[in-house]
């Protein structure tokens, strides 16, 4: 069903997020992180830890707050409004889901470090750009050696803890890999939201037995859940971003005078702003519906594809019109609009772009006999 009005817990989290991010987040913070060569600010991540955000999905035994998905999504929405470059989705949601499912000592140690904001964690799963969901892995763990190639590993920085999804003789596994180990080759690229993504080649990398965090059916289920949650959380971030950019654009339009009128008085522009707002309403409705579907297990695939498609599209559309309605100023680096547009580009194209998700939604609809509404 989904919600339009926060419950008490969500409201509390939203208030604290707005309080913190209002001071320490937003465009100035995004500019600071952009100036860092690693695209990652350990001090901010530590603050996220203190606020309980990095461990929002982690169980108490790992020092997490275990608030559950819906409050985590409220946070994601607020982090999106603030274009936070921190790896909340990659680390707290995706890796956090895996670490919650694992019980080995290494996973416990890492989970505790994540909950405290001492470490960020990333999962290398994708093997080809443009793939949606878990691929049949080529990357393989055999006789204690890991070999294969992963692409677009998010939230990359030298201090990150690296989890790798691979296939083994006994089914899928999630292993913890030391990025500095022999046989690991990393090529990091800068993304438009200032963070780094890595392409990683593993050439017979030695993996100790206790570095295997999840195996078989448990690994498979945790990976599925991690990607599903990550996709919904990223959708919420995108919707939050689009909503904030709408407001920024509306304020600019109310201040800027041309032809003796405020830009916000021109009907053509007002109507476009209404349509963009409707797109954002649909986006919020869609990711909430996806979260609810994930909870109930009904119509999950269609709902998640629709959500990521809609939220990505809403952020891209809002980006284009935000530049247009800011005029030439919107085309400058000095204007904050550009920071939002850049974040929207990276987020809307990661974990599947709108066109790919719409195709997948239709396939899910036709194959699953799920109702579309």
């Amino acid at each position: 069903m989904g919600w339009r009005v926060d419950n008490e817990l969500q409201q509390m989290l939203r208030d604290s997020a707005q309080g913190y991010l209002g001071d320490a987040g937003g465009a100035p913070h995004a500019r600071r992180v952009r100036a860092l060569s690693d695209g990652f600010d350990p001090a901010t991540w530590a603050s996220f830890g203190e606020l309980g955000w990095t461990g929002v999905l982690l169980p108490e035994r790992l020092g997490g707050s275990e608030l559950g998905l819906e409050p985590a999504l409220t946070l994601a929405e607020e982090l999106g409004r603030s274009i936070a470059p921190e790896p909340f989705v990659a680390s707290s949601v995706i890796a956090g889901t895996l670490l919650s499912a694992a019980t080995t000592d290494a996973a416990t140690e890492l989970g505790i470090a994540l909950a405290q904001g001492r470490r960020s964690v990333t999962l290398a799963w994708q093997e080809n750009r443009g793939s949606l969901g878990l691929p049949p892995f080529v990357t393989c763990l055999q006789n204690g050696m890991l070999s294969g190639t992963k692409v677009h590993v998010p939230g990359w920085h030298p201090g990150v803890a690296l989890l790798v999804a691979a296939v083994s003789a006994t089914g899928p596994v999630v292993v913890l890999v030391d990025p500095t180990a022999a046989g690991v080759t990393i090529t990091a690229s800068r993304l438009t939201d200032a963070t780094l993504a890595a392409d990683i080649v593993f050439d017979r990398v030695a993996i100790a037995d206790d570095a295997v965090l999840l195996r078989g059916a448990a690994a498979e289920a945790a990976l599925q859940l991690a990607l599903a949650r990550g996709t919904v959380a990223l959708s919420a971030q995108l919707e939050g971003l689009a909503g904030a950019l709408w407001q920024m654009t509306a304020s600019y339009m109310k201040d800027r005078l041309q032809f003796g009128s405020r830009l916000s008085d021109f009907q053509a522009l007002r109507h476009q702003m209404v349509d963009l707002s409707a797109g954002i309403e649909l986006a919020a409705a869609s990711w909430r519906a996806a979260a609810t579907a994930l909870d109930s297990g009904v119509g999950v695939d269609l709902a998640i594809h629709a959500a990521k498609a809609r939220c990505s599209q809403a952020a891209q559309d809002m980006s284009r019109w935000a530049i247009q309605y800011h005029g030439a100023f919107g085309y400058t680096d000095e204007a904050d609009v550009g920071l939002f547009v850049h974040a929207a580009l990276a987020w809307s194209t990661w974990l599947g772009n709108p066109a790919a998700h719409r195709r997948a939604a239709l396939v899910a609809y036709r194959s699953g006999n799920v109702r579309h509404g």
Partner: protein, 385 residues
């Protein structure tokens, strides 16, 4: 039905309504989207539901309605949609009754509400005029008080189902010396009064439901005034909030999308990536609109109403309905030009008619451009002129 329907669980309520509906809804009326019950059919439907204890789900019990929760009203609509029922306008029950409940005198309520319930009175809505459409407040049909009567002169147009109606509620000008909204009154009239004539207009879907209504010295008693004199603009706005949520439901897009899928499969286009990419956009639009509608209804059930979003849903639902019928034309080649049922994929409707039926939805109930004006006033503040 003596028992309290509100006391039933949602599942039990749904089962009860479905059972009755399936047993009693005439098969010849199971034509979704393009068919609307009119005249004696509409009257029969009201009588059937009234006799069986299903009439007026949203009306409070004190007026003889079912006083159902919004959730249960939505359940009734869902079941009618699933059963492929023809649409019912019910101008009396849906549009006039809320106004009477809020502004009518006790005599007016006692006289008109029971006859709406039992199907004795079918009503039509006389607001629009040839020169006053979107700018409704500029309307010029006049009512002049003459002792115990009003004498009405002028013309209404686009009055849906006027030819079948027993009575009409009209907005008339009763004061020309004030701001245009402040000189309008809300008056009830019988359709068989001397001087009142109706002329049907043929529309593009081949129906003659829209009418012109002419008033030539039509004389109605002053007790037919609803609310205070010159207060008609405010009176006319008294729609039940619930009604707007049920109206915003994506029923027509959902039913038409299913027809589009029938066409795509029937034409063997399921592997055509160009078609699929367009259909996928429509599917996602429908999915997300349905999600929004459910969440808005859910919030409304808990007392939270967001007027901007209600208007947005009208815009989204009607435009999506059009986009879906547009796509039907796009995939169906020459069949789109037939004035016959297409017979593709088991679809026994006429595509031209579906296309046409979708057109006026963006014009009536506030043209979508006017809705965008209203929404933008809420989101951005009023525009300076």
């Amino acid at each position: 039905m003596a028992e309290d329907l509100n006391a039933l669980s949602h599942d039990a309520f749904r089962a009860r309504w479905r059972e009755w509906l399936h047993a009693n809804f005439p098969n010849e009326w199971r034509i979704p989207i393009i068919h609307r019950l009119a005249g004696e059919d509409e009257r029969r439907w009201h009588r059937m539901t009234y006799a069986a204890g299903w009439r007026a789900p949203s009306w409070p019990k004190e007026y003889g309605g079912l006083g159902l929760s919004l959730e249960k009203q939505l359940i009734m609509n869902e079941e009618m949609e699933a059963h492929r029922c023809a649409r019912v306008l019910d101008s009396g029950g849906a549009l006039l009754a809320p106004v009477l409940m809020k502004y009518g005198t006790e005599e007016q309520k006692a006289r008109y509400l029971p006859a709406i319930l039992n199907g004795d009175d079918l009503w039509c809505q006389g607001y629009s005029e040839p020169n006053s459409g979107s700018d409704l407040a500029s309307l010029g049909t006049t009512a002049v008080k003459d002792g115990k009567h009003f004498i009405i002169n002028g013309q209404k147009i686009w009055t849906t189902l006027a030819a079948f109606a027993d009575r009409i509620f009209v907005l008339v000008r009763t004061n020309k010396d004030v701001k245009k909204q402040a000189g309008i009154s809300f008056i009830l009239a019988d359709m068989d009064l001397p001087g009142l004539t109706v002329r049907p207009i043929m529309n593009l879907a081949g129906e003659d439901e829209l009418c012109e209504v002419f008033f030539d010295n039509v004389c109605v008693p002053t007790e037919n005034l609803v609310g205070a004199l010159d207060q008609g603009w405010t009176v006319a706005k008294a729609l039940l909030g619930d009604e707007r949520i049920t109206n915003g439901a994506p029923t027509l897009p959902r039913q038409s999308f299913e027809m589009l899928e029938q066409l795509v499969q029937g034409l063997d286009l399921g592997d055509d990536q160009g078609v699929n990419d367009r259909v996928a956009v429509l599917l996602c639009d429908l999915h997300d609109l349905a999600a929004l509608h459910r969440q808005v209804a859910d919030a409304a059930i808990r007392g939270e109403v967001d007027n901007a979003v209600l208007s947005m849903m009208k815009v989204l639902a009607t435009e999506l309905f059009q986009h879906i019928t547009d796509e039907m034309l796009r995939v169906s080649n020459e069949s789109a030009g037939l004035v016959e049922p297409v017979g593709i994929g088991g679809l026994d409707t006429d595509l031209r008619k579906l296309f046409m039926v979708a057109r006026p939805s963006t014009i009536y109930a506030g043209a979508n451009e006017v809705q965008r004006n209203i929404i933008s006033n809420m989101l951005l503040g009023p525009a300076a002129k």
